[in-house]
Amino acid sequence: MQTMIEVRGLTKVFTLHNQGGTQLPVFRGIDFTAKRGECTVLFGESGSGKSTLLRSLYANYLPTSGSIHVRHRGELVALSGADSQTLLQIRRETIGYVSQFLRVIPRVPTLEVVAEPLRLRGVETAQAQARAGELLERLHIPQRLWSLPPGTFSGGEQQRVNIARGFIVDYPILLLDEPTASLDRRNAATVVELIGQARDRGTAIVGIFHDSEVRDAVADRIFHVQPQAATDRMAS
Protein backbone atom coordinates (compact mmCIF):
# COMPACT_ATOMS: atom_id res chain seq x y z
CA MET A 1 0.00 0.00 0.00
CA GLN A 2 1.20 3.45 -0.88
CA THR A 3 2.47 5.63 1.98
CA MET A 4 0.36 8.78 2.30
CA ILE A 5 1.79 10.21 5.51
CA GLU A 6 5.24 9.59 6.89
CA VAL A 7 6.21 10.94 10.28
CA ARG A 8 9.76 10.54 11.53
CA GLY A 9 11.09 11.44 14.96
CA LEU A 10 8.28 13.89 15.62
CA THR A 11 8.70 15.76 18.88
CA LYS A 12 6.42 18.43 20.27
CA VAL A 13 7.23 20.68 23.17
CA PHE A 14 5.12 23.74 23.90
CA THR A 15 7.10 26.64 25.30
CA LEU A 16 4.93 28.99 27.34
CA HIS A 17 6.92 32.22 27.12
CA ASN A 18 4.59 34.17 29.33
CA GLN A 19 4.71 31.61 32.10
CA GLY A 20 8.40 31.88 32.76
CA GLY A 21 9.27 29.90 29.64
CA THR A 22 7.67 26.73 31.01
CA GLN A 23 8.36 23.76 28.74
CA LEU A 24 5.44 21.46 28.17
CA PRO A 25 6.69 18.28 26.49
CA VAL A 26 3.88 16.36 24.79
CA PHE A 27 5.51 13.55 22.83
CA ARG A 28 8.94 12.69 21.59
CA GLY A 29 10.36 10.82 18.60
CA ILE A 30 7.12 9.60 17.08
CA ASP A 31 7.43 7.43 13.96
CA PHE A 32 4.19 6.91 12.18
CA THR A 33 3.00 5.92 8.72
CA ALA A 34 -0.46 6.10 7.20
CA LYS A 35 -1.23 4.19 4.05
CA ARG A 36 -3.67 4.55 1.22
CA GLY A 37 -7.04 2.95 1.92
CA GLU A 38 -6.32 2.41 5.62
CA CYS A 39 -7.88 3.85 8.72
CA THR A 40 -5.43 4.44 11.55
CA VAL A 41 -6.85 5.22 14.96
CA LEU A 42 -4.80 7.27 17.39
CA PHE A 43 -5.17 5.85 20.86
CA GLY A 44 -4.00 7.13 24.21
CA GLU A 45 -5.10 8.70 27.44
CA SER A 46 -6.47 12.20 27.68
CA GLY A 47 -3.64 14.71 27.27
CA SER A 48 -1.31 12.19 25.62
CA GLY A 49 -1.15 14.31 22.49
CA LYS A 50 -3.55 12.70 20.03
CA SER A 51 -5.05 16.00 18.89
CA THR A 52 -1.61 17.59 18.88
CA LEU A 53 -0.37 14.90 16.50
CA LEU A 54 -3.41 15.27 14.26
CA ARG A 55 -3.06 19.05 14.16
CA SER A 56 0.62 18.68 13.30
CA LEU A 57 -0.35 16.56 10.29
CA TYR A 58 -2.53 19.48 9.12
CA ALA A 59 0.29 22.00 9.67
CA ASN A 60 -1.88 23.67 12.29
CA TYR A 61 0.79 22.98 14.92
CA LEU A 62 4.49 23.24 14.18
CA PRO A 63 6.77 20.33 15.09
CA THR A 64 9.53 21.09 17.57
CA SER A 65 11.68 18.59 15.71
CA GLY A 66 11.30 15.66 13.35
CA SER A 67 9.64 15.54 9.96
CA ILE A 68 6.22 15.07 8.41
CA HIS A 69 5.83 14.15 4.75
CA VAL A 70 2.49 13.86 2.98
CA ARG A 71 1.79 12.58 -0.51
CA HIS A 72 0.64 15.58 -2.50
CA ARG A 73 0.19 15.48 -6.28
CA GLY A 74 1.96 12.14 -6.26
CA GLU A 75 5.08 13.20 -4.36
CA LEU A 76 5.97 13.01 -0.68
CA VAL A 77 6.20 16.68 0.36
CA ALA A 78 7.74 17.87 3.64
CA LEU A 79 5.35 20.05 5.62
CA SER A 80 8.05 21.90 7.48
CA GLY A 81 9.85 24.14 5.09
CA ALA A 82 6.91 24.22 2.67
CA ASP A 83 5.82 27.78 1.90
CA SER A 84 2.32 29.01 2.74
CA GLN A 85 1.17 28.65 -0.86
CA THR A 86 2.08 24.99 -0.91
CA LEU A 87 0.49 24.36 2.49
CA LEU A 88 -2.74 26.02 1.38
CA GLN A 89 -2.73 23.97 -1.81
CA ILE A 90 -2.17 20.78 0.20
CA ARG A 91 -5.16 21.66 2.36
CA ARG A 92 -7.32 22.44 -0.65
CA GLU A 93 -6.46 19.30 -2.59
CA THR A 94 -4.96 16.65 -0.37
CA ILE A 95 -5.80 16.83 3.33
CA GLY A 96 -9.21 17.27 4.90
CA TYR A 97 -9.51 17.89 8.62
CA VAL A 98 -12.60 17.57 10.75
CA SER A 99 -11.92 19.39 13.98
CA GLN A 100 -13.75 18.61 17.18
CA PHE A 101 -15.81 21.78 17.00
CA LEU A 102 -17.22 23.68 14.05
CA ARG A 103 -15.79 27.15 13.65
CA VAL A 104 -18.85 29.13 12.73
CA ILE A 105 -18.69 31.88 10.13
CA PRO A 106 -21.26 34.54 10.99
CA ARG A 107 -24.19 34.81 8.59
CA VAL A 108 -23.08 32.12 6.17
CA PRO A 109 -25.85 29.54 5.65
CA THR A 110 -25.22 25.89 6.48
CA LEU A 111 -25.47 24.76 2.86
CA GLU A 112 -22.71 27.20 1.87
CA VAL A 113 -20.54 26.28 4.85
CA VAL A 114 -20.66 22.65 3.74
CA ALA A 115 -20.23 23.43 0.03
CA GLU A 116 -17.26 25.76 0.55
CA PRO A 117 -14.39 23.23 0.27
CA LEU A 118 -15.76 22.14 -3.13
CA ARG A 119 -16.24 25.76 -4.22
CA LEU A 120 -12.60 26.47 -3.32
CA ARG A 121 -11.64 23.71 -5.71
CA GLY A 122 -13.54 25.47 -8.48
CA VAL A 123 -16.74 23.37 -8.52
CA GLU A 124 -19.85 25.30 -9.61
CA THR A 125 -22.12 26.59 -6.85
CA ALA A 126 -25.16 24.55 -7.89
CA GLN A 127 -23.23 21.31 -8.12
CA ALA A 128 -21.38 21.92 -4.84
CA GLN A 129 -24.60 22.74 -3.02
CA ALA A 130 -26.35 19.69 -4.41
CA ARG A 131 -23.58 17.52 -3.02
CA ALA A 132 -23.74 19.42 0.28
CA GLY A 133 -27.47 18.72 0.45
CA GLU A 134 -26.93 14.98 -0.07
CA LEU A 135 -24.48 14.83 2.81
CA LEU A 136 -26.65 16.91 5.13
CA GLU A 137 -29.55 14.60 4.34
CA ARG A 138 -27.50 11.52 5.15
CA LEU A 139 -26.52 13.15 8.43
CA HIS A 140 -30.17 13.92 9.22
CA ILE A 141 -29.94 17.71 9.21
CA PRO A 142 -33.48 18.78 8.31
CA GLN A 143 -33.74 20.81 5.13
CA ARG A 144 -35.34 23.77 6.90
CA LEU A 145 -32.01 24.36 8.68
CA TRP A 146 -29.91 24.45 5.51
CA SER A 147 -30.47 28.13 4.83
CA LEU A 148 -29.59 29.14 8.40
CA PRO A 149 -26.09 29.82 9.69
CA PRO A 150 -25.12 26.95 12.03
CA GLY A 151 -24.21 29.34 14.85
CA THR A 152 -27.39 28.61 16.80
CA PHE A 153 -27.45 24.86 16.13
CA SER A 154 -27.05 22.27 18.88
CA GLY A 155 -23.61 20.77 19.52
CA GLY A 156 -24.51 17.57 17.70
CA GLU A 157 -25.97 19.43 14.72
CA GLN A 158 -22.89 21.62 14.41
CA GLN A 159 -20.68 18.56 14.54
CA ARG A 160 -22.67 16.94 11.75
CA VAL A 161 -22.32 20.10 9.63
CA ASN A 162 -18.60 19.90 10.33
CA ILE A 163 -18.51 16.26 9.22
CA ALA A 164 -20.44 17.00 6.03
CA ARG A 165 -17.93 19.76 5.27
CA GLY A 166 -15.04 17.35 5.81
CA PHE A 167 -16.46 14.59 3.64
CA ILE A 168 -17.68 16.74 0.73
CA VAL A 169 -14.30 16.52 -0.99
CA ASP A 170 -12.75 13.12 -1.71
CA TYR A 171 -9.49 14.05 -0.06
CA PRO A 172 -6.64 11.53 -0.39
CA ILE A 173 -6.01 12.09 3.34
CA LEU A 174 -8.65 12.72 5.97
CA LEU A 175 -7.98 13.64 9.60
CA LEU A 176 -10.82 13.20 12.10
CA ASP A 177 -10.75 14.45 15.69
CA GLU A 178 -13.53 12.72 17.60
CA PRO A 179 -16.13 13.21 14.89
CA THR A 180 -18.69 11.08 16.71
CA ALA A 181 -18.22 12.54 20.19
CA SER A 182 -21.54 14.38 20.38
CA LEU A 183 -23.58 12.20 18.04
CA ASP A 184 -26.40 9.74 18.71
CA ARG A 185 -26.07 6.13 17.52
CA ARG A 186 -27.91 6.69 14.27
CA ASN A 187 -25.62 9.53 13.21
CA ALA A 188 -22.52 7.80 14.53
CA ALA A 189 -23.47 4.87 12.28
CA THR A 190 -23.66 7.23 9.29
CA VAL A 191 -20.17 8.51 10.09
CA VAL A 192 -18.87 4.94 10.28
CA GLU A 193 -20.42 4.35 6.86
CA LEU A 194 -18.87 7.52 5.41
CA ILE A 195 -15.48 6.51 6.75
CA GLY A 196 -15.85 3.03 5.24
CA GLN A 197 -16.73 4.47 1.83
CA ALA A 198 -13.85 6.95 1.91
CA ARG A 199 -11.47 4.16 2.81
CA ASP A 200 -12.77 2.00 -0.03
CA ARG A 201 -12.06 4.89 -2.40
CA GLY A 202 -8.46 4.82 -1.17
CA THR A 203 -8.47 7.62 1.36
CA ALA A 204 -5.90 7.37 4.13
CA ILE A 205 -7.79 8.13 7.33
CA VAL A 206 -6.26 9.08 10.65
CA GLY A 207 -8.78 9.52 13.43
CA ILE A 208 -9.40 9.80 17.13
CA PHE A 209 -12.46 7.95 18.45
CA HIS A 210 -13.23 7.62 22.11
CA ASP A 211 -16.25 5.41 21.50
CA SER A 212 -14.89 1.84 21.44
CA GLU A 213 -17.74 0.61 19.25
CA VAL A 214 -16.97 3.16 16.55
CA ARG A 215 -13.26 2.48 16.97
CA ASP A 216 -13.71 -1.24 16.45
CA ALA A 217 -15.89 -0.61 13.44
CA VAL A 218 -13.43 1.61 11.57
CA ALA A 219 -9.89 0.82 12.73
CA ASP A 220 -7.50 -1.05 10.46
CA ARG A 221 -4.64 -0.15 12.76
CA ILE A 222 -4.27 1.38 16.20
CA PHE A 223 -1.40 3.74 16.90
CA HIS A 224 -0.63 4.30 20.58
CA VAL A 225 0.28 7.87 21.38
CA GLN A 226 2.51 7.75 24.42
CA PRO A 227 2.73 10.76 26.64
CA GLN A 228 6.24 12.07 27.16
CA ALA A 229 6.75 10.45 30.59
CA ALA A 230 5.77 7.00 29.34
CA THR A 231 8.06 7.34 26.33
CA ASP A 232 10.91 8.19 28.65
CA ARG A 233 10.20 5.19 30.80
CA MET A 234 10.17 2.90 27.78
CA ALA A 235 13.40 4.34 26.49
CA SER A 236 15.29 3.81 29.73
Binding site: H17, N60, L62, R107, R119
Partner: protein
Protein backbone atom coordinates in the same frame (compact mmCIF):
# COMPACT_ATOMS: atom_id res chain seq x y z
CA UNK B 1 -4.02 28.93 -9.62
CA UNK B 2 -1.80 31.79 -10.62
CA UNK B 3 1.65 31.18 -9.17
CA UNK B 4 3.03 34.64 -9.99
CA UNK B 5 2.97 36.87 -6.92
CA UNK B 6 1.05 40.12 -7.13
CA UNK B 7 3.35 41.81 -4.64
CA UNK B 8 6.95 41.00 -3.77
CA UNK B 9 8.05 42.94 -0.73
CA UNK B 10 11.73 42.83 0.19
CA UNK B 11 13.47 44.31 3.22
CA UNK B 12 11.00 47.16 3.33
CA UNK B 13 12.00 49.78 5.88
CA UNK B 14 10.40 53.08 6.83
CA UNK B 15 11.28 54.51 10.22
CA UNK B 16 9.85 57.77 11.56
CA UNK B 17 12.17 57.34 14.54
CA UNK B 18 14.06 54.31 15.90
CA UNK B 19 11.50 51.52 16.52
CA UNK B 20 8.69 53.62 15.04
CA UNK B 21 7.55 52.45 11.63
CA UNK B 22 8.39 49.22 9.85
CA UNK B 23 11.73 47.52 9.51
CA UNK B 24 13.01 44.90 7.07
CA UNK B 25 9.63 43.49 6.16
CA UNK B 26 9.57 40.85 3.43
CA UNK B 27 6.70 38.79 2.02
CA UNK B 28 4.93 37.76 -1.19
CA UNK B 29 1.24 38.20 -1.83
CA UNK B 30 -0.54 36.06 -4.41
CA UNK B 31 -3.71 36.79 -6.39
CA UNK B 32 -6.80 35.95 -4.37
CA UNK B 33 -4.86 35.81 -1.14
CA UNK B 34 -5.76 37.65 2.04
CA UNK B 35 -2.86 38.63 4.26
CA UNK B 36 -3.62 39.84 7.77
CA UNK B 37 -1.36 42.19 9.72
CA UNK B 38 -1.85 42.27 13.49
CA UNK B 39 0.11 43.82 16.32
CA UNK B 40 -0.08 46.30 19.15
CA UNK B 41 -0.91 49.95 18.68
CA UNK B 42 2.09 51.84 17.31
CA UNK B 43 3.82 48.70 16.01
CA UNK B 44 3.92 50.11 12.49
CA UNK B 45 0.99 48.43 10.77
CA UNK B 46 -0.39 51.59 9.17
CA UNK B 47 3.09 52.72 8.21
CA UNK B 48 3.66 49.40 6.43
CA UNK B 49 0.31 49.62 4.67
CA UNK B 50 1.05 53.17 3.49
CA UNK B 51 4.36 52.03 2.01
CA UNK B 52 2.72 49.06 0.29
CA UNK B 53 0.06 51.22 -1.31
CA UNK B 54 2.48 53.80 -2.70
CA UNK B 55 1.48 56.52 -0.27
CA UNK B 56 4.68 56.69 1.76
CA UNK B 57 8.12 56.25 0.22
CA UNK B 58 10.23 53.74 2.19
CA UNK B 59 13.75 54.51 3.44
CA UNK B 60 14.97 51.31 1.83
CA UNK B 61 13.84 48.01 0.40
CA UNK B 62 11.66 47.32 -2.61
CA UNK B 63 8.11 46.48 -3.63
CA UNK B 64 7.50 44.77 -6.95
CA UNK B 65 3.93 44.81 -8.24
CA UNK B 66 2.56 42.76 -11.10
CA UNK B 67 0.10 44.91 -13.00
CA UNK B 68 -3.15 43.86 -14.63
CA UNK B 69 -1.32 44.02 -17.95
CA UNK B 70 1.15 41.44 -16.64
CA UNK B 71 4.27 43.59 -16.29
CA UNK B 72 6.23 43.67 -13.05
CA UNK B 73 7.00 47.18 -11.83
CA UNK B 74 9.02 48.55 -8.95
CA UNK B 75 6.47 50.75 -7.18
CA UNK B 76 8.82 53.44 -6.07
CA UNK B 77 10.50 53.68 -9.47
CA UNK B 78 7.16 54.73 -10.99
CA UNK B 79 6.15 58.32 -11.52
CA UNK B 80 3.64 59.72 -9.04
CA UNK B 81 1.09 59.94 -11.82
CA UNK B 82 1.49 56.24 -12.53
CA UNK B 83 1.25 55.42 -8.82
CA UNK B 84 -2.00 57.38 -8.55
CA UNK B 85 -3.33 55.64 -11.62
CA UNK B 86 -2.71 52.24 -10.06
CA UNK B 87 -4.40 53.39 -6.85
CA UNK B 88 -7.44 54.53 -8.80
CA UNK B 89 -7.84 51.66 -11.22
CA UNK B 90 -6.26 48.47 -9.89
CA UNK B 91 -6.32 48.99 -6.14
CA UNK B 92 -8.64 49.92 -3.37
CA UNK B 93 -7.48 51.66 -0.22
CA UNK B 94 -9.72 51.56 2.83
CA UNK B 95 -8.37 53.97 5.41
CA UNK B 96 -8.42 53.57 9.18
CA UNK B 97 -10.30 56.88 9.45
CA UNK B 98 -13.14 56.94 6.95
CA UNK B 99 -12.75 60.70 6.51
CA UNK B 100 -9.34 60.13 4.94
CA UNK B 101 -10.88 57.91 2.29
CA UNK B 102 -14.02 59.87 1.44
CA UNK B 103 -14.76 63.12 -0.27
CA UNK B 104 -16.75 64.89 2.36
CA UNK B 105 -17.99 67.64 0.05
CA UNK B 106 -20.01 65.45 -2.30
CA UNK B 107 -22.95 63.07 -1.71
CA UNK B 108 -22.67 59.46 -0.63
CA UNK B 109 -23.82 58.31 -4.06
CA UNK B 110 -21.22 60.50 -5.74
CA UNK B 111 -18.51 59.04 -3.54
CA UNK B 112 -19.26 55.65 -5.02
CA UNK B 113 -19.95 56.90 -8.55
CA UNK B 114 -16.73 58.88 -8.69
CA UNK B 115 -14.56 55.78 -8.48
CA UNK B 116 -16.59 54.16 -11.25
CA UNK B 117 -16.17 57.23 -13.44
CA UNK B 118 -12.43 56.99 -12.96
CA UNK B 119 -12.58 53.61 -14.69
CA UNK B 120 -14.62 54.95 -17.60
CA UNK B 121 -18.31 54.63 -16.67
CA UNK B 122 -20.12 57.82 -17.71
CA UNK B 123 -23.85 57.01 -17.89
CA UNK B 124 -25.59 58.89 -15.05
CA UNK B 125 -28.46 56.44 -14.53
CA UNK B 126 -26.02 53.52 -14.53
CA UNK B 127 -23.74 55.22 -12.01
CA UNK B 128 -26.62 55.98 -9.71
CA UNK B 129 -28.07 52.47 -9.93
CA UNK B 130 -24.71 50.90 -9.17
CA UNK B 131 -24.16 53.30 -6.28
CA UNK B 132 -27.56 52.37 -4.85
CA UNK B 133 -26.84 48.65 -5.19
CA UNK B 134 -23.56 49.02 -3.36
CA UNK B 135 -25.18 51.05 -0.62
CA UNK B 136 -27.62 48.21 -0.12
CA UNK B 137 -24.79 45.64 -0.13
CA UNK B 138 -23.05 47.39 2.74
CA UNK B 139 -26.38 47.99 4.47
CA UNK B 140 -26.59 51.73 4.02
CA UNK B 141 -30.03 53.31 3.71
CA UNK B 142 -30.39 54.10 -0.01
CA UNK B 143 -32.59 57.01 1.02
CA UNK B 144 -29.37 58.72 2.13
CA UNK B 145 -27.78 58.52 -1.34
CA UNK B 146 -27.92 62.30 -1.89
CA UNK B 147 -26.70 63.22 1.61
CA UNK B 148 -23.12 64.17 2.23
CA UNK B 149 -20.99 61.77 4.32
CA UNK B 150 -20.59 64.56 6.89
CA UNK B 151 -24.16 63.73 7.93
CA UNK B 152 -23.38 59.98 8.25
CA UNK B 153 -22.40 58.27 11.50
CA UNK B 154 -18.84 56.93 11.80
CA UNK B 155 -19.99 53.40 11.03
CA UNK B 156 -21.95 54.55 7.98
CA UNK B 157 -18.92 56.46 6.71
CA UNK B 158 -16.81 53.33 7.02
CA UNK B 159 -19.35 51.30 5.05
CA UNK B 160 -19.49 54.00 2.40
CA UNK B 161 -15.73 53.96 2.15
CA UNK B 162 -15.74 50.22 1.58
CA UNK B 163 -18.44 50.50 -1.10
CA UNK B 164 -16.47 53.31 -2.79
CA UNK B 165 -13.41 51.10 -2.94
CA UNK B 166 -14.95 47.84 -4.01
CA UNK B 167 -17.32 49.21 -6.68
CA UNK B 168 -14.60 49.10 -9.33
CA UNK B 169 -13.70 45.48 -8.53
CA UNK B 170 -10.06 46.18 -7.81
CA UNK B 171 -7.59 43.28 -7.86
CA UNK B 172 -5.74 44.39 -4.73
CA UNK B 173 -7.23 46.09 -1.71
CA UNK B 174 -5.44 47.58 1.27
CA UNK B 175 -7.54 47.87 4.39
CA UNK B 176 -6.66 49.52 7.66
CA UNK B 177 -9.03 48.41 10.45
CA UNK B 178 -12.02 48.36 8.07
CA UNK B 179 -14.45 47.11 10.69
CA UNK B 180 -13.13 49.24 13.54
CA UNK B 181 -16.04 51.49 14.38
CA UNK B 182 -18.85 49.18 13.32
CA UNK B 183 -21.37 47.35 15.44
CA UNK B 184 -21.11 43.60 15.48
CA UNK B 185 -23.95 42.72 13.10
CA UNK B 186 -22.79 45.19 10.43
CA UNK B 187 -19.27 43.91 10.91
CA UNK B 188 -20.46 40.38 10.23
CA UNK B 189 -22.28 41.47 7.05
CA UNK B 190 -19.21 43.28 5.79
CA UNK B 191 -16.90 40.40 6.57
CA UNK B 192 -19.28 38.14 4.74
CA UNK B 193 -19.30 40.49 1.76
CA UNK B 194 -15.51 40.68 1.76
CA UNK B 195 -15.19 36.92 1.95
CA UNK B 196 -17.52 36.57 -1.02
CA UNK B 197 -15.69 39.14 -3.12
CA UNK B 198 -12.37 37.58 -2.34
CA UNK B 199 -13.49 34.17 -3.59
CA UNK B 200 -15.57 35.36 -6.54
CA UNK B 201 -13.29 38.05 -7.92
CA UNK B 202 -9.99 36.57 -6.87
CA UNK B 203 -9.46 39.77 -4.89
CA UNK B 204 -6.17 40.01 -3.01
CA UNK B 205 -6.26 41.87 0.27
CA UNK B 206 -3.79 43.17 2.81
CA UNK B 207 -5.79 43.87 5.93
CA UNK B 208 -4.60 45.50 9.14
CA UNK B 209 -6.74 44.58 12.11
CA UNK B 210 -6.43 44.38 15.86
CA UNK B 211 -9.28 41.86 15.89
CA UNK B 212 -7.87 38.34 15.78
CA UNK B 213 -11.31 36.90 15.01
CA UNK B 214 -11.50 39.08 11.89
CA UNK B 215 -8.02 37.94 10.91
CA UNK B 216 -9.01 34.31 11.43
CA UNK B 217 -12.12 34.74 9.34
CA UNK B 218 -10.60 36.56 6.38
CA UNK B 219 -6.88 35.95 6.20
CA UNK B 220 -5.15 32.76 5.08
CA UNK B 221 -1.84 34.17 6.19
CA UNK B 222 -0.85 36.37 9.10
CA UNK B 223 2.00 38.71 9.95
CA UNK B 224 2.51 39.71 13.58
CA UNK B 225 4.27 43.03 14.17
CA UNK B 226 5.81 44.46 17.26
CA UNK B 227 7.89 47.61 17.61
CA UNK B 228 8.32 47.99 13.85
CA UNK B 229 9.37 44.41 13.23
CA UNK B 230 7.71 41.22 12.06
CA UNK B 231 8.03 38.81 14.98
CA UNK B 232 6.07 35.93 13.49
CA UNK B 233 4.30 34.95 10.28
CA UNK B 234 2.61 31.89 8.84
CA UNK B 235 -0.76 30.32 8.11
CA UNK B 236 -3.31 32.23 10.18
CA UNK B 237 -4.64 29.25 12.10
CA UNK B 238 -1.11 28.04 12.86
CA UNK B 239 0.01 31.43 14.17
CA UNK B 240 -3.09 31.76 16.33
CA UNK B 241 -3.32 28.15 17.55
CA UNK B 242 0.38 27.44 18.06
CA UNK B 243 2.07 30.84 18.42
CA UNK B 244 5.83 30.58 18.75
CA UNK B 245 6.85 34.07 19.78
CA UNK B 246 6.31 35.41 23.30
CA UNK B 247 4.50 38.48 21.97
CA UNK B 248 2.11 36.44 19.80
CA UNK B 249 1.35 34.17 22.74
CA UNK B 250 0.50 37.21 24.80
CA UNK B 251 -1.68 38.62 22.02
CA UNK B 252 -3.57 35.34 21.58
CA UNK B 253 -4.02 34.69 25.30
CA UNK B 254 -5.39 38.16 25.96
CA UNK B 255 -8.49 37.60 23.83
CA UNK B 256 -11.33 35.26 24.67
CA UNK B 257 -12.29 33.93 21.27
CA UNK B 258 -10.26 33.96 18.13
Amino acid sequence: MNREPLLQVRQLTKLHAPGKGCREVSFDLYPGEVLGIVGESGSGKSTLLSCLSARLAPDSGSILYRTDAGETVDLYQLSEARQRQLQRTEWGIVHQHARDGLRMGVSGGANIGERLMATGERHYGQLRATAARWMRDVELDVGRIDDRPTTYSGGMQQRLQIARNLVTHPRLVFMDEPTGGLDVSVQARLLDLLRQLVTELGLAVVIVTHDLAVARLLAQRLIVMRRSQVVESGLTDQVLDDPQHAYTQLLVSSVLTA
